[in-house]
């Protein structure tokens, strides 16, 4: 068993509706922990029933390929400027855009390292797209500024490494292959192999597809 802790590393513009606040831009939430002082400001648009959705992503590049995920714990620090006429106002853990675990309601105070508790039953693929979703919606038509303050979040993954790991050396660096499937060409046909297809005593040289 091993653990990996990572911070937010990117803002998911493609799935989000928020307009970046230039004074408190989205990357402010990448500061490195769930207990940082600086924050990103996510404005709730004016108007009746206007809402805003924001997604942040974690950097999972350090998670070994083929890992079995035992559990994940996400800690965060976030709050909303006012709860008046804002409902729902939630923060949740998502895989892609699917909520995992239970969403929590944002309050006007932000405690360090609030947690969603342990989340289990996630696959490696689901973990690789984990992120944080922030959502807020106005009630009746109001124009009073409302905004979410996102300070940061950390993801801790408890996992077990795959027994079979394969690496290729590329540009002087070893890179672990992600979920490799092996084929060997036999009598002119590519045959799928379980496990390593390499034959002892045979030398292999890298070839490029043409």
């Amino acid at each position: 068993m091993a653990t990996l802790t990572v911070d937010l590393s990117s803002y998911d513009y493609a799935n989000s509706t928020a307009v970046e606040n230039t004074t408190r831009p989205f990357p402010n939430a990448f500061a490195g922990s769930a207990s940082t002082g600086d924050y990103a400001s996510i404005d709730v648009p004016d108007g009746a029933n206007a809402d805003v959705t924001s997604y942040y992503r974690f950097d999972l590049s350090a998670l070994p390929a083929g890992a079995t995920i035992n559990s994940v714990v996400v800690k965060y620090k976030a709050r909303i400027s006012s709860t008046s006429y804002i409902s729902p106002r939630t923060i949740s853990v998502v895989s892609g855009t699917t909520v995992k675990g239970t969403a929590q309601t944002l309050g006007t105070t932000a405690a360090d390292d609030k947690t969603f508790g342990q989340i289990t039953g996630l696959s490696e693929a689901e973990v690789r797209t984990l992120g944080i979703k922030l959502y807020a919606k106005r009630g009746r038509s109001v124009t009073t500024p409302r905004f979410i303050m996102m300070y940061g979040a950390t993801l801790t993954i408890d996992y077990t490494e795959s027994a079979d790991r394969y690496y290729v050396k590329e540009s002087d660096d070893w890179r672990q292959l992600r979920n490799p499937t092996f084929y060997r060409k036999e009598s002119g046909f590519w045959v799928k192999k379980s496990g390593s297809p390499f034959v002892a005593g045979v030398n292999y040289t890298h070839k490029e597809e043409r």
Partner: protein, 72 residues
């Protein structure tokens, strides 16, 4: 009898294999040569290729013995 060096009567060296490093294991399978002792050898080195791909290999790719690794 294998010969690995031939020196002419005038002292000039016609051929000298004594410092050659070729060996059966470093010579491609089926190729022939003479090693440093002058003995004829047949190569035993087998070299195949491997590809790292993002989808299943096409039938025209590679030769028998080659490996394709497809990342999922």
């Amino acid at each position: 009898m294998a010969a690995n060096k031939v020196v002419l009567a005038n002292g000039a060296t016609l051929i000298d294999l004594t410092s050659d490093t070729v060996a059966a294991g470093s010579l491609l399978s089926g190729a022939t040569a003479h090693d440093a002792s002058g003995a004829a050898i047949t190569g035993t080195l087998i070299v195949n290729g491997y590809y790292v791909l993002s989808s299943a290999p096409s039938s025209s790719l590679g030769v028998d013995g080659d490996i394709a690794i497809v990342e999922g």
